[in-house]
Symmetry: C2
Subunit: 365 residues, 2 copies
């Protein structure tokens, strides 16, 4: 695809160095793949690698009042961000945070209820609620605890591996802001797309403006890569995704990928994957339901793909894990970032996660 020439030119790397004002990490695998440089094996990181699979995380977490304390205390967030680098030997860290800090900084407060998930005491019900939200840099700059956590993490990483920053996609953030909590269908949020599309676009644009400034500040604080998570892409279809999600993700990607490489992961968006692959991100994450040979056939071998092992494979034997790793590796070929096709599940045996990482690290091109 012609745009890839532009993305892979030599200025990209220069900009990356300038944006972070730091040295290149010693382990450059992830950045090399994202910058189109040859590597001798795929890099690996794991969605939700910092979290309940690690005993040291659980020990720290049990001393705290709640998840929010962890997210808002830079020293603690940095500590759990670095834990999987030490324990699992992954090729990248991802800053420990939460996608819902964006509604929070825009003025829509949320809570995390143990075993239930996010809860918004107030939700977005009409245009007036959207107009009352702050947005852009003035909103994003309130999230100093995130930027401080990034600074602290960079110190503790001592340039061993790159640090990934992230944001929820505007559609996914809107889901929670309308619905007020998690949902299997997000039918309230979807109803707005059909009943009041102009209102939806107004909210999505405000979210986009804020996410862009937030990610710029993250880059300024030191993240080397950015991933946009569209966790609830899968409740839409091709028509609604094309109208209400993808254009906003593309705005974000366009604003960020001159600074650092971007990865877009839209879980469940099989219906719009062609369009996502035709977008400008440096890499596209795939969930485990996606058939890799079919995607490679569509997109060719140059596009960087991330994923996509089913997290449930990690409940199996080490042989089963190694076998699946080899299968995915042979289907993906070059230009691949190894990962799961969804966040690792909390009850996954730690030794199996380590075995997964080691299987990937023993691969060769």
């Amino acid at each position: 695809m012609h745009f890839r020439v532009k993305l892979k030119n030599s200025t990209r790397h220069f900009l990356y160095l300038r944006a972070n004002s730091t040295l290149m990490p010693q382990n450059t695998l992830l950045l090399d793949v994202l910058n189109g440089k040859p590597v001798n094996r795929p890099p690996i990181w794991i969605m939700r690698q910092a979290g309940r699979i690690l005993p040291e995380y659980r020990a720290l977490r049990s001393r705290l009042s709640g998840f929010v304390e962890l997210v808002t205390t830079p020293d603690l967030a940095a500590e759990v961000t670095v834990q999987p680098v030490d324990r699992l030997g992954v090729d990248a860290a991802i800053i420990f945070s939460d996608i819902l800090v964006i509604p929070e900084c825009m003025g829509l407060h949320y809570e995390l209820i143990e075993k239930k998930g996010p809860f918004f005491p107030e939700t977005i019900k009409g245009i007036a609620d959207i107009e009352a939200l702050d947005s852009g840099e003035s909103a994003a700059s309130r999230l100093s605890y995130v930027f401080d956590a990034i600074n602290e993490t960079k110190k503790r990483l001592e340039d061993r591996v790159p640090l990934i920053g992230f944001s929820g996609a505007p559609w996914t953030l809107m889901c929670y802001m309308i619905e007020g909590s998690g949902s299997k269908t997000f039918s309230k949020a979807k109803a707005v797309l059909y009943k009041e599309p102009a209102m939806a676009h107004k909210l999505l644009q405000k979210l986009t403006d804020t996410v862009i400034e937030y990610l710029k500040l993250k880059v300024k604080s030191g993240v080397d890569v950015v991933q946009v998570f569209d966790s609830w892409a899968g409740v839409l279809d091709q028509q609604t995704y094309t109208k209400f999600s993808l254009p906003y993700i593309e705005q974000i990607v366009a604003a960020i990928n001159d600074l650092v490489p971007t990865i877009v992961f839209a879980k469940g968006a099989h219906f719009s994957l062609d369009d996502i692959l035709n977008g400008q991100s440096n890499a596209v994450g795939l969930d485990w339901s996606i058939d890799i040979p079919q995607i490679r056939k569509f997109v060719g071998s140059d596009r960087v793909l991330q994923g996509n092992m089913d997290p449930c494979v990690l409940y199996g034997s080490k042989d089963r894990i190694a076998e699946k790793v080899k299968q995915i590796h042979s289907q993906m070929g070059q230009n691949h970032i190894f990962n799961l096709g969804h966040g690792v599940y909390p009850d996954t045996p730690l030794e199996n996660v380590i075995s997964f990482v080691n299987s990937v690290k023993s691969l060769e091109y």
Copy 2:
């Protein structure tokens, strides 16, 4: 596809009449489409049409102790089965019941907890638990309340429209029996596929044997069509679906479709849709995420497809609903059963559901 010649031959219709020992319904649209006969518009029914969208359902429900009382009392189940025929004017009734009566009749008791969903006090943990389950006809024949409800419904329908019977697919039933309740990921059930595949197959076969006998008894009691719901297909991928779900569904279809036409609906199974379409069912249900032109291109215009309007379209204006109905109609062409791509959501305005049905009834080929 060559097997369709076999399915559409003249003996099929004869068997249908014999199995039910009743007259053909006055409204034969659904049966005609399933039997490959010409119709002047697509028939319509709506998944979960009997339920909370109807005020008369809510009124009846509020007088009862719980959902289980409704499912196990034939007169009441018949009453709510017929309600949408009277109120919405749909072209078929579907017996009001629950997919989890199958584990119940096999000896695994469950409860339905208000606003939370199904709950199994005991779950399947190992081979011994599976061996302790009853199966086949001796298990299925315990569900006399379902067969009585079908008999009673047939009387009340007075041959106006055909009656659909249904079952959960073995994989979906296994999900609940292992997990013990609903889940976003069904990771415990999936773990068994990776850790103990032989145990999974043993349970799936016992479920299949029971579902077949159950559906045969439903046909004997008077249902004119059978739909198999694989509600949790979407948590699998092509490889696991091919091993652990589709072969069992095909066993069921093969056993039933000499008696009455069968419809297979595997929600979220985009990765295995080609295989499902190549199966022997008389019709395949599509969820709303599926691109109709792409499917028609793959499968041709003869295969009967059911669906697939996003239930959330029903939150929109009547014009929006009519517009979407026309779009789906023009993409589907002939050999189409109109339906949503998922069950109707409880908070859908009744007048919009009626408007949806009327829009479909005003279509012409």
